[in-house]
Symmetry: C2
Subunit: 646 residues, 2 copies
């Protein structure tokens, strides 16, 4: 048995009376929409009409829901909109007090995707919720849980899912071969029937394995032909496949650099071969030198994505999308926004977040990430010529700023085969939240949280209030007790969990803080690595100067003495001590807020989160003490408040 | 194919004429001795007589070899002595220039053992030479390699081998059950026929699994009966089994503490049950709290073995031997000698070394450990009432000081299924050296090395000279470029390989250096953790005072400022810088000495070591720079010689 999250409302099939105003003619999406409503216990005895409208402003995926004395009406311009509308109606109905529902909703982002880092052997790279539910023992699995997952995605407005790890090795190469392609087709049909497009990751080096080709050079005619044939084959079987996500020239993965070609030449090879089938190529920008010598003070990993991609603007075909991580490093608790956003008007872009809590507590700590994503999306890029289209990150990735053909938001997912899907029950707020946020980025973190709490735990005010407080405190708390002031990476290598202030300091990963007994931080302005100059003005100038750099990113951009005074009026060292004590206290507060719910929610659900808090209470203190001791031993500067340092 | 080390001389069976002066009557040991000589190519046409003598001063294992015009004579008092003598004769003959051999050799230590940490699944805990040759896929393997291993052991005078890991789990529990015991018997017979006794590790908690017992309380009658029955069973099948090695109450292993009993009560339980069969119980003293809070400044892991065992002197039965690691921590490159030696006159003791290079380069760095073991054995314990018996560690563990019934030396072995047995070809010098050293601790490190070089690489003077230099430089070099001045543990946790100065600093393992920007080291004297007081005088006073503590152990015993001046006249910080630069230079020298042998020894053998040096050259510089940077960043004290620090 497993939890169906906010879909747990489905208990039997004696629900409401649903009529469809039109010609069904074997349409799986409409079938599913109707069945979803009919089997929904909470809608019992309601009268609901589904139907098409000729209002094309709703697009493929929008819907309109209205209430009248006759009952409820859900209208859409296309079938995908109808099934989104049906799910949304159920949520709104459950959340509504007066049961009057009147909304018109059209998704803001064209692509709203989840990326699975699931391996064919069933393991999940950076997965913290059990094994894969797509893959077991090098085989593809399709069962009731798969269907529920498709329903979950649809209910939140996700419209794409990449089912396999970007590091495509071994058996995963066969997902596009005869061995597995018919199972992939079956999976595609399932997801399609819930409005979700299926995507795969591919191995860029695949044609090397073919003895008749033996190369992956994007300009080699044989290679071009190989991919044309391959896509012809794939699409002859799965004509609606969304396309492919590619990690090339990164962390040991082969790519166009191997042949002295550009990233654009690599991406276009695939894009041209897939174009006749209307597929897209999503090309990751996570390209950097992962063999850096820590003694090398000039190379800056933060500069890599911009350095490799910026000058290629305009060279990518229009069915290529660059998938760019939110920050220039790798999903740290705090990073600046990647400077590529707002700097490539002629190249489709999608932003990549991570709701798998790789560096943010691995679903053992509660960390509601939506406030962090909101900050990133709200960052002003000052893109040139944006005018009234706006030039915030959200405008860029929703395609408004530059009128991209394809664009959107994706997240590395936090799901797995654990009974509760996300390891930590409260981590489901990120799965829920990211879907809703990518559908409508104007929603506030609190609005999203309140929806999720209501649908998951019911409408009790005290329950809502306490969980909302916990969620909203959680990301700031994690930042407080982990790496300070934007420096990042003070984490155990390999596991990416738990404090290890020097863990990455002498490694090849390009992730250093360079703390000495006098100073800490990296000089990344024009006199340093030059990273700050990758931004548009006035951002470049803001980061150039220590006085105008926001406190929370100070050590990312500047090397400062420990007695440097922050805008808050505190010295750096005292800020470190204070935030670390505060962060651990915040966890005590959150745990107390949860304890107050004992008896007010399902006991097992209470207990699951209670147990995670037991660990977080201990582990946040471990973080507090290790980071504080690290800086105390380095500086021997006492805490102004006289608290114990070790 | 694999290398047979110094036994590679065996090429065919048309060797010498060997006659045995006595009644063979189906004696496997004598058979093997005769065959070994007969099949030895280098002895061709010699005339060799084997025979017994009534000189009981040779004991069970001694022998006398003499030369006359008639040929060579090998005499012994017992068959074990004869086979040791035969192997020794071959070595001496191969090494001798004038071929006149006249020696009488009797082993100094009663027990001369190797401990295998081999698991039944074929893996080896802390093994760096491939998988186990005893175990494959949860089964016991006996083949030609096993026989060669028995020959290797015999040729060096080893007389005992423990074949399975001290952490006895899963299938290994069945080594004393019907499932495997007949295979163990077969193995015992093989080793016995080469003079080597077989020992096993056992799971102290075994009777808990028996539903009729359900306990491991050493005072529980059912438990006592269970072990009596178990040993009756085992010895009815393998009457010559040497006995058992036990790790209890350590690193998660169950033991008598679980039932509020002492270590003596635990050991005696087994000792009394095994006594009727003349077996012995070897009881490890590696007992400590491995769940220490790093913030706890009072608990000192170094004190643990003494604290747990010292007051039990006289309470152990006389067929129990305490197996005590050379130092109080865990096989670091430098530690003081465990203070239990010379402090337990009424309790059999054996010293445990480690030739598996867990913390000393994992057989990727060359590190000839015999000089280090010689230092330990030469340590004066000032044991009371030792008189003319001597009270150095070597006297204690050879049984001289207190007249122990059982005593000796053992080492965790460095062997595995790699073609060359020890991963690094030069690591075979430790396997060879430890056998010879435990047979005769008065041998110098150079004598042992010269023997090994001659037998392995031949008698070329240049080859001998260069390899001797490399071996003798190697341990000091490793100490220079790794953790300084006895502090230890600046190594990556889990792997125990490569520099990580703070790797253990915030862990639960009780292994801290507490470096701040002012000071480094632990106060372990009477005003600190009190560890130094565990020694006899005048050692206790020597370690009490910073001025009388030897430089190489300074930071083990004392917290000092970086500008503290060593006996060498250097400050601590300058010593750190200097030794780290020197250590990496020493590796360059060693690699150059090796390069000079290109063309002078077998090319593949040359290349194997050459490749290991390539790694060591890089990795010793990594050690140098990380350790130096760590202390430089902490202190910002410049190198007096102006070399680059990062």
């Amino acid at each position: 048995m497993y939890t169906k999250l906010w879909l747990d409302y489905v208990t039997d099939d004696n629900g409401c009376i649903v009529s469809f105003d039109g010609d069904l003619s074997d349409n799986k999406l409409i079938d599913n929409a109707v069945n979803e409503l009919r089997s929904c216990n909470c809608l019992k005895d309601l009268n609901i009409v589904l139907g098409f409208t000729d209002d094309s402003s709703l697009g493929d995926e929008g819907y309109r829901i209205s209430t009248s004395v006759m009952g409820y009406k859900i209208e859409a311009y296309k079938d995908t909109g109808l099934i989104y509308g049906a799910f949304r109606f159920i949520s709104l109905y459950r959340l509504s007090e007066d049961k009057t529902i009147s909304v018109t909703e059209v998704p803001v982002n064209k692509l709203r995707m989840l990326n699975h880092w699931d391996n064919m052997d069933g393991s999940i790279e950076r997965g913290y919720s059990g094994n894969s539910f797509f893959f077991v023992n090098n085989d593809l699995v399709i069962n009731e849980r798969t269907k529920d997952y498709a329903r979950i995605l649809c209910s939140l407005g996700y419209n794409g899912v990449v089912i396999n790890n970007v590091n495509v090795k071994g058996e995963a190469c066969n997902l596009i071969n005869e061995k597995f392609i018919y199972k992939v087709k079956e999976l595609e049909e399932l997801f399609y029937s819930y409005g979700v497009k299926l995507y795969l990751c591919l191995n860029y080096a695949a044609p090397i394995e073919d003895p008749d080709v033996g190369s992956a050079d994007p300009l080699d005619e044989k290679v071009i032909k190989w991919w044309e044939d391959k896509f012809d084959y794939i699409y002859s079987i799965i004509p609606r496949l969304g396309g492919f996500l590619v990690k090339a020239d990164s962390e040991g993965r082969p790519g166009p650099f191997t042949y002295g070609r550009t990233q654009a030449e690599g991406a276009n090879l695939l894009a041209r071969a897939i174009a006749p089938h209307h597929g897209i190529i999503i090309w990751r920008c996570f390209v950097y030198n992962c063999q850096q010598d820590w003694r090398d003070l000039k190379t800056d990993r933060a500069c890599a994505a911009y350095d490799y991609f910026h000058d290629l603007d305009g060279q990518f075909d229009d069915n290529v999308i660059l998938q760019i991580k939110n920050g220039p490093m790798d999903f740290q608790i705090r990073e600046p926004v990647t400077p590529l956003f707002g700097k490539m008007p002629k190249t489709n872009q999608m932003i990549e977040f991570q709701i798998a809590q790789e560096y943010t507590g691995q679903q053992r700590h509660v960390c509601y990430l939506i406030p962090w994503f909101k900050e990133v999306l709200g960052f002003e890029t000052y893109a040139e010529n944006a005018g009234k289209n706006g030039s915030k990150v959200v405008d860029v990735v929703s395609g408004k700023t530059f009128g991209y053909k394809y664009s959107g938001m994706c997240a590395v997912t936090n799901t797995g085969n654990d009974e509760n899907w996300t390891g930590h029950d409260l981590a489901a707020a990120n799965l829920y939240g990211f879907g809703r946020l990518s559908f409508d980025p104007s929603l506030s973190s609190e609005e999203i949280a309140n929806e999720w709490i209501g649908l998951t735990y019911g409408n009790d005010e005290k329950v809502r209030e306490n969980i909302l407080k916990i969620l909203m405190m959680s990301w700031p708390a994690y930042e407080k007790y982990s790496a300070p002031l934007g420096i990042g990476w003070m984490v155990c290598p390999a596991e990416h969990y738990g404090p290890d202030p020097d863990g990455y300091e002498y490694s090849r990963w390009g992730t250093y803080h360079k703390a000495t007994h006098d100073t800490v931080g990296l000089e990344r302005n024009s006199t340093g690595t030059g990273y700050s100059m990758q931004y548009n003005e006035p951002n470049a100038s803001m980061y150039e100067n220590v006085d105008t750099t926001p406190d929370e990113l100070l050590l990312f951009f500047h090397k400062v003495p420990y007695d440097h005074v922050l805008k808050s009026g505190k010295t750096v060292i005292q800020h470190i001590y204070d935030t670390h004590f505060e962060g651990a206290e915040d966890v005590e507060t959150m745990a107390r807020l949860w304890d107050e719910l004992n008896g007010m929610i399902d006991h097992n659900a209470f207990k699951r989160v209670f147990e995670r808090f037991e660990h977080q209470l201990w582990h946040s203190k471990e973080w507090r003490d290790v980071i504080n001791s690290y800086f105390y031993r380095k500086t021997l500067i006492e805490d102004e408040k006289g608290r114990e340092l070790y």
